[in-house]
């Protein structure tokens, strides 16, 4: 694995980790195992930090380090992950994402206006770190052990780092320094030119009593908290002239526990006192010191127990083998941990191309099959059939490649709900069902905007203010639900809320005022509900920055219709609203059912075909204008496709009814001939025919003829309208069972 590949892995991995972090944060209140959630969030940040370190992205390391420190405190139980902290961490997650996005070559190039954001976030994080109180050392130790347990990061650093972003310099001068003509003070002055001495402690413990003291010997030592962008070697060079004659230890920012233990061990001094000096320098916090002393004891008792990380840290720089090994281990650890399915990232364009080719292949193979039937050569028919079967399988798996679970799209709304509801001062829960329902990727991409709009609508208009909710005896926390499921060849996506529902009176008033509906028109509840999808319709008194401008819902409807889908709305005033989007599973190839009227071919999606029955004399009551039959006690309205498409002279001896079910509605199409199952590659209609009601597309048959793909939803609605409300109500009634 070379560095470039590794870098790409880092980018992809960061995105995933951040997404995971966001999900965990958002789901934190409801999760079964909060400790594991915190661990998982910590790991995400920690892994990003580790990987960023390998690529020398110091800015990311510095920022993630602070986040990580706070999370470490949470993990060790110093404070709980409460609402404000979750919000803060979400902002940090966004910021890290931004940093990763703005990696340019080897550095992070943040826009200048982002820097105050970072500073503000860091301040907020530090506030957590500084108000901490020391916890029992035992839990802290468990935290550290945890860090050792997961292999994925142990290669890079196995012991926890300190939250200090400054260098720490510990220098003890030898007795002869002064006699050799050197003045330690001048080194300190020189050091100050390289950066900022944040805090310095003069250690005078070695100074003997006045009688024993040799005025020409040096007894002083310094512990320095030093803020600088200088490199380690630059800092070392400051003390170049006394290198032989002093004890010098320079710890980089975010040094490891083990390094501090080493300092404390090396310097013959009262351990506790030196620890306190480090605390005073601001290098360590009190709690870090407590941990450290515990660790030190553990190390002593454990004899030769050394931390792997130390070796790497002591080497200073990880060599490229280590990088590879680290990434490898990371990958392994992840696999074991998250049972992540092995995936290959493929360019979406390549996939689209493949699907197109397979579409052509399906058409070509249909052509071959019909030719072989005509030729009548048995062996040829057999091979053609084998090929058709294989093509079918290839098509199936190719389409599956594009199937994506809708869960990811749904999860994005967690954040939206959280942010928007906070903005509006409402308390809203998002419930997600059917996250594993699969849907064509292209459909998912196009549905995400309309969904966003609906969810925002639910939050803004749907869920009432807390005061109104309590007045209506509802729980204070509003509930928005996203649900997805498959139903007869379509996927249904529901956005529901337990909010105020639609006020039909108000809608009707407004619609009459706007001239959308004539004053005397009587509208059913369903029709009134549908009014909100009309352009320019809004009943909101106030236009907020979230919604209320009345441009939303008709855009939603048009977007969904462009996907050959439908949208309907169920609502009860003061109880809640459910908006149901029905979409075809895929946009490319469907299993169709072919029918023939006269010499024209029609195709409907196979999944919506309920049954086929013969239209016999008993049924033929439609000629006197009533186009419905009694289907085992149900009213089944039907439409003669030949009549609808104005075909003449299709007087077949026998007619068949194809019973179609779309959502809750059923209708029959009367055709001359049933052709059976047919793999249909959907070809879009030209712009001229796009708006023809009843047709959603076309397809090319093996023979080269064109078949029209029927738009079942618009045809069914047509039937309903034609037959009036009585039947539609009856049909709905019967469909309810």
């Amino acid at each position: 694995m070379n560095m470039e590949q590794a870098f790409q892995t880092f980018l992809a991995e960061s995105t995933e980790l951040l997404q995971d972090m966001e999900n965990k944060l958002l789901g934190f209140d409801n999760c079964d195992d909060p400790a594991e959630s915190v661990n998982s969030i910590f790991r995400a940040v920690h892994t990003i930090k580790g990987s960023a370190g390998l690529f020398g992205l110091d800015d990311i390391v510095a920022f993630t380090h602070v986040v990580e420190s706070v999370l470490d405190e949470v993990r060790s139980g110093s404070f709980v992950l409460d609402e404000p902290l979750i919000n803060l961490l979400l902002q940090c997650k966004d910021y890290i994402g931004k940093m990763v996005d703005s990696i340019d070559g080897e550095a992070v190039l943040m826009a200048p206006e982002d820097l105050p954001v970072q500073a503000a976030l860091e301040d907020a994080l530090f506030a957590y770190l500084n108000t901490e109180h020391s916890t029992s050392a035992a839990t802290a130790l468990v935290g550290i052990d945890d860090a050792d347990n997961y292999q994925s990061v142990s290669v890079i650093e196995s012991d926890s780092a300190m939250a200090n972003e400054n260098w720490h310099i510990s220098v003890y001068f030898g007795a002869d320094v002064l006699r050799n003509g050197m003045d330690p003070l001048s080194f300190l002055r020189y050091l100050a030119t390289l950066g900022d001495i944040v805090h310095i402690e003069t250690v005078t413990d070695d100074l003997p009593g006045i009688e024993d003291m040799d005025a020409e010997s040096c007894y002083l030592g310094y512990e320095i908290n030093f803020h600088s962008s200088a490199s380690k070697s630059q800092i070392e060079d400051v003390f170049e002239f006394v290198r032989e004659d002093c004890q010098l230890k320079i710890l980089p920012p975010y040094a490891k526990v083990s390094d501090f233990i080493e300092i404390i061990d090396n310097i013959q001094n009262d351990e506790l006192k030196l620890g306190e000096i480090l605390v005073r320098c601001g290098t360590l916090t009190q709690r870090e010191l407590d941990n450290l002393l515990q660790m030190q004891n553990a190390v002593k008792e454990g004899g030769t127990h050394r931390l792997i990380g130390e070796i790497v840290v002591e080497d200073g720089l990880a060599s490229s083998e280590v990088v590879t090994a680290a990434l490898h281990r990371q990958a392994q650890g992840k696999k074991a941990k998250e049972k992540q399915a092995q995936t290959v990232r493929v360019d979406a364009e390549k996939l689209d191309h493949l699907i197109n080719l397979i579409g052509e292949l399906v058409i070509a193979s249909a052509g071959i099959e019909s030719e072989t039937h005509l030729a009548g050569i048995a062996s040829l028919v057999e091979s053609a059939q084998t090929m058709t079967r294989l093509v079918e399988e290839v098509r199936e798996s190719a389409l599956n490649l594009r199937m994506v679970q809708i869960g990811e799209t749904f999860n994005r709304f967690q954040r939206v709900v959280r942010d928007v509801s906070k903005e509006l001062g409402k308390d809203i829960d998002l419930q997600i069902d059917g996250a594993d329902t699969e849907l064509d990727k292209t459909v998912i991409e196009k549905i995400s905007d309309p969904l966003m709009h609906l969810v925002r609508n639910s939050i803004d208009h749907g869920i009432e203010s807390p005061a109104l909710r309590s007045q209506r005896n509802k729980p204070a926390t509003g509930n928005v639900k996203l649900n997805a499921y498959h139903e007869s060849g379509t996927i249904v996506i529901e956005v529901s809320d337990d909010g105020g529902g639609l006020n039909r009176e108000k809608i009707l008033q407004k619609a009459r005022a706007n001239g959308l509906v004539s004053a005397e028109a009587e509208l059913s509840a369903h029709d009134i509900n549908q009014l909100i999808f009309e352009a320019g319709f809004s009943t909101a008194e106030a236009v907020s920055n979230i919604s209320g401008r009345g441009v939303g819902m008709d855009v939603v409807r048009r977007n969904i219709e462009a996907l050959r889908g439908t949208v309907e709305i169920d609502s009860e005033y003061t109880v809640g609203t459910t908006i149901r989007i029905r979409l075809p599973l895929t946009l490319a190839i469907i299993d169709g059912f072919m029918m023939k009227v006269g010499d024209a071919f029609y195709v409907v999606p196979l999944d919506i075909v309920e049954e086929c029955i013969e239209l016999n004399a008993n049924h033929s009551v439609g000629h006197d204008g009533r186009s419905y039959i009694n289907l085992r006690g149900e009213v089944l309205p039907f439409i003669r496709l030949g009549d609808y498409f104005c075909q003449s002279g299709s007087n077949a001896k026998r007619e068949n009814i194809v019973v179609i079910k779309y959502g809750s509605l059923k209708a029959g199409f009367v055709v001359d001939e049933l052709m059976g199952e047919f793999q249909t590659v959907i070809k879009p209609l030209g712009p001229l025919f796009e708006r023809v009601p009843g047709i959603s597309g076309s397809t090319i048959l093996g023979s080269g003829e064109v078949a029209l793909i029927l738009d079942a939803s618009s045809l069914i609605h047509l039937v309903m309208q034609r037959d009036g409300k009585a039947i539609s109500a009856a049909a709905q009634q019967s469909a309810l069972h």
Binding site: F173, D183, P184, T204, G209, I210, E211, M213, E216, L220
Partner: protein
């Protein structure tokens, strides 16, 4: 600035450089002054230069005074002395009131 509250207090007034070159002889004077169990006053007004060795002497004096429970006043800090004490963050340790000379060239590093 001269708090002559006690006439019996012993004065130690190093002059010129308080550095490695003169440290040994200053130390002997200091030892003499400290050995009397009487309050000691160190006036640094005449100090033109101070280095680590000189600083060590002041630290020594302060520590010794604490150990023997003798009052110790260090006065007359000159700019060079203040700079060194601030550089080493020892003003708290000495705890003497420091008169800041008017030429505030502001060379003191952060404490």
């Amino acid at each position: 600035m001269n708090r002559s509250k006690d006439n019996a207090s012993l004065m130690f007034c190093p002059q010129g450089d308080l550095t490695i070159y003169t440290a040994q002889q200053h130390k002997e004077q200091l030892l003499l002054a400290m050995n009397n169990q009487a309050p000691v006053q160190i006036n640094l007004a005449e100090v033109t230069d101070i280095d680590t060795a000189g600083l060590q002497l002041l630290i020594l004096a302060k520590r010794e005074s604490l150990r023997r429970n003798i009052a110790l006043n260090i006065t007359g800090h000159t700019r060079v002395v203040i700079d060194v004490i601030e550089l080493c963050n020892l003003s708290g340790f000495f705890g003497d009131p420091v008169f800041i000379p008017s030429d505030t060239s502001d060379k003191g590093t952060s404490a």
